[in-house]
């Protein structure tokens, strides 16, 4: 038992208010969630219950599918009312899948970062080719794909290989510490989107020029 809901409750009680682009406010009827940049706006479209979070997290303002939920493109203009803590946890799991649990595992010391080379070495089938990516290509790819402005809001805990850190992103991208009152978004292992990107990089480099 690692007490994720209890950890969430403690964090809220201690003044926790933001996770990714979602702002959480305690109200009489439970909690109100909205895009953090929407805080001052009054003309927000009201939604209720955790299941609405799944829909809100699914598309950008332009109507594009968001396969990576920690991409900094959460839609604006909504206000989600959540009645209780259990529903709040479910809603946050829709907005930022696994980020509550991963954050708790980090605190407990049970989150094991996996180097990008280890992740790629494990791949089979169409992704086996990603093992051919060079260090330079991998550094460039991560620097572009994972950057916080336009890529992904998670903080990276993994190196390229043991003893070989990622050098193409600013130091704060690798800090597990979040800003005050903010739940950290932690990346302990490259996602499938990055693995798929590595395949693209290798395939492109293999094309005859």
């Amino acid at each position: 038992m690692n007490g994720i809901t209890e950890a969430l409750e403690r964090w809220l009680r201690a003044g926790g208010r933001e996770i990714g682009e979602v702002h959480i406010q305690s109200v009489d009827s439970g909690w109100e969630l909205r895009h953090r940049l929407d805080e001052p706006r009054a003309n927000l479209i009201a939604h209720t219950g955790a299941e609405a979070a799944r829909v809100l997290a699914q598309y950008t303002d332009a109507g594009e599918f968001r396969p990576l939920k920690t991409a900094p493109n959460l839609r604006r203009g909504w206000l989600l009312t959540i009645p209780d803590l259990g529903e709040l946890r479910r809603a946050l799991d829709y907005f930022y899948p696994a980020m509550l649990g991963v954050g708790v595992s980090y605190t407990l010391g049970t989150l094991v970062p996996v180097a990008l080379r280890t992740t790629l070495a494990r791949q089979t089938g169409m992704y086996r080719v990603t093992q051919k990516i060079t260090d330079t290509q991998a550094q460039q790819m991560v620097g572009d794909f994972c950057r916080s402005d336009g890529g992904c809001l998670k903080h990276i805990l993994w190196p390229l290989a043991p003893g070989e850190p990622i050098s193409t992103l600013p130091a704060e991208k690798f800090s597990p510490e979040a800003a005050p009152a903010t739940w950290p978004l932690l990346c302990h292992e490259a996602c499938n989107l990055l693995v798929a990107k590595a395949r693209e990089v290798v395939k492109k480099a293999d094309l005859p020029s």
Binding site: M1, F65, P67, A98
Partner: protein
């Protein structure tokens, strides 16, 4: 047979997911929400190969020490035998790790109740149409990429045919013989019901199969949002038949029951694992 309540256990439904098609993971999320609503498990989560939560993240979400994993796949194959066990670091049907027990169940599509679901879906989309005067097609993908899905589709056709309800029950595939594009030549009956044997809707069910059936035009770009209407315009009158076209079988709400039945089936086969 549904499993007994397991308030101290977690269920993970493992799906493929997609980086381009939100409808790929939608049924998995729907079935998870339905199972969570019933309160049989203490915790219910989804995990995906190509979406979040990923198979590498999901175990961090779980608080229970006993975890059932049911692959939401139409058949055994590369994903159920290689990818899911590898990503979850499973050592067999039962994995003991870090004080937890992970029980890896059969994929949903393997369960005998799939036959009932296909019959149910076929009856619902063609209400009042006598099955004896109907040709029922079960459409699979039909390439090596999809592993045993073609075998699974064929097995279901044999099971449905054995019940003797339909005038005829036929296999068809998108990319290999017997081709679904030749439906009108192979169907003997005035009514034709077509059920795609897929885990979720997507380009295949929205557009590829409808184009092969002759009930839709190929769209110039990606399948449009209006493509879902293809399921709502039954019956189609063409080639001298009345044709009824269903959405992917994996969108059937009764799938939630089959996921639970795979858990019960696991418990029936591996009772000793409780004490292992």
């Amino acid at each position: 047979m549904l499993p007994k309540p397991k308030p101290h256990s977690a269920l993970i439904i493992a799906g493929h997911g997609s980086t381009v098609n939100p409808d790929s993971s939608a049924p998995t999320f729907d079935h998870a929400a339905e199972i969570a609503r019933r309160g049989i498990f203490g915790e219910v989560y989804c995990a995906f190969w190509k979406e979040e939560p990923s198979l590498r993240q999901v175990l961090h979400m779980v608080e229970a020490d006993e975890i059932y994993v049911v692959p939401n796949f139409i058949s055994e194959g590369y994903f159920t035998r290689t990818v899911i066990p590898r990503e979850l670091e499973l050592t067999g049907p039962v994995t003991h790790r870090d004080g937890r027990t992970i029980k890896y169940c059969e994929p949903v599509g393997n369960h005998p109740r799939m036959t009932e679901l296909l019959l149910h879906r076929a009856a619902v989309i063609a209400p009042g149409i006598p099955p004896r005067e109907t040709s029922l097609f079960i459409v699979g993908h039909g390439t090596d990429l999809n592993d045993n899905s073609a075998v699974a589709a064929k097995r279901e056709v044999e099971r449905i045919a054995a019940r003797g309800l339909y005038g005829e029950v036929l296999n068809a595939y998108m990319e290999e013989e017997p081709l679904i594009s030749k439906w009108a030549e192979s169907a003997k009956h005035p009514n034709v019901v077509v059920v795609p044997f897929f885990i979720s809707d997507g380009l295949h069910s929205y557009e590829d199969i409808p184009v092969l059936l002759g009930i839709a035009e190929e769209s110039p770009g990606a399948a449009s949002a209006t493509a879902k209407n293809v399921f709502t315009r039954n019956p189609y009158h063409l080639r001298g038949r009345s044709l009824y076209y269903a959405s992917a079988i994996g969108t059937e709400p009764m799938f939630a029951d089959v996921i639970l039945e795979q858990v019960a089936a696991f418990d029936a086969v591996e009772p000793a694992s409780v004490f292992a």
